[in-house]
């Protein structure tokens, strides 16, 4: 790790001020990606603005079908939230299967979606749940937020404050973990709204990050069952291939995991 300047932010306003005007500064939330990367000297921010002591970034509120999760809420807190589980059990299931216990007790939802790793779990949920990403300056719809691998709509210095989700009628997440990293080799989040519309989001498989699977969304809109996906062939043209799996294998997993997510949604 290269030397860096540490700042402990006391509020959102303070955090933004500390980072402003310094394009070498980074926000530090759970640090589960940033710190290992810094230790390997692959990242070298001049300044770290620690968000872990900003109270207004923490906490979960569930009001009817409205879920609000503070950006600095850990995966473990989401996983253990009975309030979220009662209205959106797919999300707590997902959070409970991120990484390992250490990661879940440090990593945060804001950190995960700010990094937008192409194999991270949360982007699939937020995209399928049509979530709103609330920042210090605006609200961004998930469809506009995830703009590519490790790329988001966030402007320089813009800070995620919370994620807002309207609970769906049904949802489910199924992931096939990379056996080494336990990131998603392929993960599929399926959400069905009260009006019957369905969103299917895929992480881990796309060559440009999380994406929606339109053909599956159509099929599930008319028949929300795993069998409805039987006839679909997933094209592997835009899917990732690496030492952990070919694009053909990932195409297979997209379908298998989608079916399992539908089954999990019930």
């Amino acid at each position: 790790m290269y030397a860096t300047n540490y700042h402990r932010a006391s509020s959102v306003e303070d955090a933004v001020k500390l980072a402003s005007g310094n394009d070498e500064a980074k926000y530090l939330s759970g640090g589960q990606t940033l710190l290992p990367t810094m230790k390997q000297r692959l990242a070298a921010p001049s300044d770290l603005v620690d968000l872990r002591h900003v109270g207004e970034l923490k906490g979960i509120s569930v009001d009817g079908g409205k879920i609000r999760i503070g950006a600095a809420t850990t995966h473990s807190e989401v996983a253990q939230s009975s309030d979220i589980a009662s209205v959106c059990p797919g999300l707590t299931h997902l959070a409970a299967h991120i990484g390992d216990p250490h990661v879940r007790h440090m990593g945060t939802i804001g950190g995960s979606i700010a990094n937008n790793d192409p194999a991270a779990d949360y982007p699939a949920a937020l995209l399928a749940l049509n979530a709103t990403i609330v920042t210090n300056t605006r609200s961004i719809a998930a469809d506009a937020y995830f703009t590519g691998m490790f790329d988001t709509a966030l402007e320089e210095g813009e800070l995620i404050v919370a994620v807002e989700i309207t609970a769906p009628a049904k949802c489910g997440y199924a992931k096939f973990p990379n056996p080494a990293s336990r990131y998603a080799l392929t993960g599929v989040f399926v959400a069905r709204q009260g009006d019957g519309s369905v969103r299917v989001a895929v992480t881990g498989a796309g060559s440009d990050g999380v994406f929606r699977q339109a053909e599956m969304e159509q099929a599930l809109k008319s028949d929300f069952s795993a069998a409805a996906l039987d006839g679909i062939t997933v094209d592997d043209a835009d899917l990732m291939a690496d030492i952990h799996g070919s694009s053909a294998y990932r195409a297979n997993l997209v379908k298998v995991m989608a079916k399992r997510a539908v089954t999990a949604a019930g």
Partner: protein
């Protein structure tokens, strides 16, 4: 004290300090004035070094010194050696290229050390290392041994034309070919044994300290064999003569073979401590370990097994290409030869065997012994072929093995080894019973109803361990003898110190070696200390590898204990005015049989040291030493049966049952043996299911250089093992011990792959059997 003697399930004494973080490892050592080192390493797999410019780096904060290969050569530091000479079948010696501790003209793998930077702090050393400018001219790269042998492949060492190190054979080629030509059935396979990264929990570290006043060196190092390190550092590397060099291997957090060798970093830290005038500490991080620890396995073989009309094996022919990486590591030449091909008879009576082995340089990390070392590679061939042949011949796997088992001992194989004892039927039967082998079809049907493909596979392994005897290994080319030493010191108050040349890096010697004394003299194990790992404290010894600490190391202790006991009896007889032959040792007392006379152990010890009343002519004190050189290898054997369920949709394999029935001979501590089997199975299952080492074939970059990409086995990958033992005593050592350290890693991969191939109905499957590979194999079988 029977509760602590041989056979007792004693809790490990050393675990308290390990699990409470109180162990003292090399990186915990702090000496006055100590500075930190970082190595400048090659980012290229193959390149000429055009120039090294350290001028900017030398001006960086905290930098004390930067040294490279030119200075190493100035000080006449020797080339890194390979300790086992192998001759090709044409009689020529192996073609060994030069390995400098710091590369001087050419780098040959990513991670090859080029310079050392010593600075006040690790961060400063690392900063300065980044400022060292090395100008490289990159060269073509080859990472696969098969490719490296091809015409036109990049030439890695001038000494090894076509990258061939040696072309070696064993056995009778003509007889084997004749058996194949006249066979009723021949099973042919091409089998890859995948490269592995050892990954001990503690990464390597070294601390070199030069004392100018005494002209003396001390090296703390993560070593499995500190005396061998001292020998090699003084005799070959010219760092310091033995009497001026102390090597200490304190607590060591696992080795699995990878800490046998004397690596460049250890040599350089020791040398640099004199050159820079400060103690030099180096500790590697995990990715550096991936890039520089000697890897294991990496064989490509083709095999033919011939059977007669009664399904008796008549011949076994093996052709193997072994990747030794960029340089020949210390025992790299012995692993794919005498530790491998000598086991190609397995548990079977095979009249004709022939193996040809070509070893090859590539632009990869050097390959050397890793848990099992050659024997897993042999077992994997043998047991995959046996299972495959059974399927082809339409007999059960057990029946084919039973038809061919060796049943009379001693048994001389056609490939050097003479098996001294064993009962292969016993372990096969025990494993089949424990696994309810006969109930498998019902379990398979039930799994099918849940959409799962269930398979069963077995492996009947044999290995040779306790490696020794010295004369035998010497005649095969070993540069060292493989005996072991011990000294037993009975203190004046009766407590005991055992000084052993064996080295514990997780094996539990502090407990098991103490059990030898507890059982024999009735001294509690808490009153017995085991001293090891320091060349200033312990007489010359050979260290721990090849499951040899029990069979060889403990045998040396037993020899020393025999001498201690003989003297103790004489003293006790004298004290009680009894005949020496009437003395019995029981419950911590030396008694005169048939009387109520007795002397407590401690009182006898005190008498030895007060020396007020000793037998005429007896020297005071009670301390004896011994060197033990065994008469044969030992031959642990066993049967493993694995049952899996494969998810046909994803190709993911779940191990639903794993049964091990091992014959380790006499067992000192069943709990420790079970732990060794569990660990070995985890590593074998890791190899078979999870651990894939990937090099980019174009650039030679190691793509799996962290746990994000290299899949170590974890608890949730493994079942709850069912382990048991059968026992035939080993006749060649006094305790009847065979050794248990490597069996799990040797026997498990073929059992697992046999189970998966049974489940999916496709025998064409390469380790590691990852989900994508199994899925692809399933699709091609359909």
């Amino acid at each position: 004290m029977g509760m602590e003697g041989i056979g007792a399930r004693v809790v490990r004494k050393e675990d308290k300090r390990f699990i409470t973080g109180k162990g003292k490892y090399t990186d915990d050592m702090v000496v006055p004035g100590m500075k930190q080192a970082h190595f400048v390493r090659s980012p290229h797999a193959h390149a000429k070094i055009k120039s090294i410019d350290t001028s900017a780096a030398e001006k960086m904060p905290g930098v004390i010194g930067i040294l490279n290969g030119a200075q190493l050569t100035e000080d006449a530091i020797g080339n890194i050696i390979c300790g086992w000479m192998i001759h090709s079948k044409d009689g020529s010696p192996m073609n060994m290229g030069v390995w400098r501790p710091l590369a001087q003209d050419t780098v040959r793998y990513v991670g090859d050390a080029v310079a050392i930077v010593v600075a006040d702090t690790k961060a400063q050393a690392r900063d300065a290392a980044e400022a060292v400018v090395v100008e490289y001219e990159t060269l073509p790269v080859v990472t696969s041994a098969v490719e490296a042998l091809k015409e036109g492949a990049p030439q890695i060492h001038p000494e090894a034309k076509g990258n061939l190190i040696f072309d070696w054979e064993i056995g009778d080629a003509a007889a084997t070919d004749a058996a194949i030509a006249s066979a009723a059935h021949v099973t042919e396979m091409k089998i890859v044994n995948n490269r592995l990264v050892p990954n001990p929990m503690e990464p390597r570290a070294a601390l070199g300290v030069y004392d100018e006043g005494e002209d003396h060196y001390t090296l703390w190092t993560t070593s499995q064999n500190p005396h061998v390190a001292r020998l090699v550092l003084s005799a070959f590397y010219n760092v310091a003569p033995e009497n001026k060099l102390r090597v200490i291997a304190p607590d060591v957090g696992g080795g699995f073979g990878s800490k046998i060798y004397i690596y460049p970093e250890e040599i350089v830290c020791l040398w640099a401590s004199k050159r820079t005038g400060v103690p030099v500490k180096w500790n590697c991080d995990r990715t550096e370990a991936f890039l520089t620890d000697a890897h294991g396995r990496d064989h490509v073989s083709t095999v033919k097994m011939a059977f007669d009309a009664n399904n008796k094996i008549t011949g076994f022919k093996v052709d193997t290409i072994a990747n030794l990486g960029a340089y020949m590591s210390l025992f790299s030449s012995s692993v794919p030869t005498y530790l491998y091909a000598t086991l190609l008879s397995g548990q079977y009576n095979i009249p004709a065997i022939h193996a040809n082995v070509r070893t090859v340089y590539t632009n990869t990390v050097p390959v050397d012994a890793y848990r099992g070392a050659g024997r897993p590679e042999a077992t994997y061939l043998m047991e995959r072929v046996m299972e495959t042949a059974a399927r082809e011949l339409g007999v059960t796997p057990a029946e084919l093995r039973r038809t061919n088992f060796i049943r009379e001992f001693p048994h001389q194989t056609p490939v050097i080894m003479c098996y001294d004892a064993g009962d292969y039927e016993a372990s096969l039967s025990a494993a089949m019973k424990a696994s309810d082998y006969d109930g498998f079809p019902a379990r398979k049907a039930e799994a099918k109803s849940r959409g799962k493909l269930r398979g069963i596979g077995m492996s009947c392994y044999i290995e040779a361990c306790g490696i020794a005897p010295s004369a035998a290994v010497g005649s095969l080319g070993a540069g060292v003898g493989l005996w072991e030493s011990a000294e037993v010191r009975v203190n004046a108050v009766g407590t005991v110190e055992i000084l052993t040349g064996s080295h514990s890096h997780g094996q539990g010697h502090e407990t098991t070696f103490a059990q030898l004394v507890a059982g024999r003299f009735g001294v509690g194990i808490d009153s017995v200390s085991v001293v090891h790992g320091d060349t200033d404290k312990v007489q010359m010894g050979m260290g721990t590898y090849g499951s040899r600490s029990g069979a060889v190391g403990m045998s040396a202790v037993v020899k020393a204990l025999d001498k201690v006991e003989a003297k103790a009896r004489k003293i006790a007889a004298h004290l009680m005015e009894a005949d020496e032959s009437d003395i019995v040792i029981e419950n911590g007392e030396l008694k005169v049989a048939g009387t109520d006379k007795s002397v407590p152990w401690f009182q006898m010890a005190l008498a030895a040291y007060t020396a007020h009343n000793l037998p005429e002519g007896m020297e005071p004190g009670l301390k004896e030493g011994a060197f033990y050189d065994p008469s044969n290898f030992t031959f642990p054997a066993g049967c493993y049966i694995c049952e899996v369920e494969v998810d046909p949709e994803t190709g993911k394999t779940e191990i639903v049952q794993f049964v091990a029935a091992d014959d380790f001979g006499k067992i000192i501590n069943p709990m420790i043996v079970e732990g060794q089997v569990h660990g070995g199975l985890a590593q074998g299952i890791g190899q078979a299911l999870l651990e894939g080492t990937h090099y980019d074939p174009e650039t030679g970059q190691l793509l799996t250089a962290s746990y994000m990409d290299y899949t170590m086995p974890r608890a949730d990958d493994l079942p709850s093992f069912q382990v048991s033992t059968t026992e035939t005593a080993c006749p060649s050592n006094p305790l009847g011990i065979k050794g248990c350290g490597e069996a799990g890693a040797i026997g498990s991969p073929p059992a697992l792959i046999n189970a998966i191939t049974d489940a999916i109905g496709n025998n064409d499957l390469t380790m590691p059997a990852t989900a994508p590979r199994v899925w692809a194999a399933l699709r091609s079988a359909q």
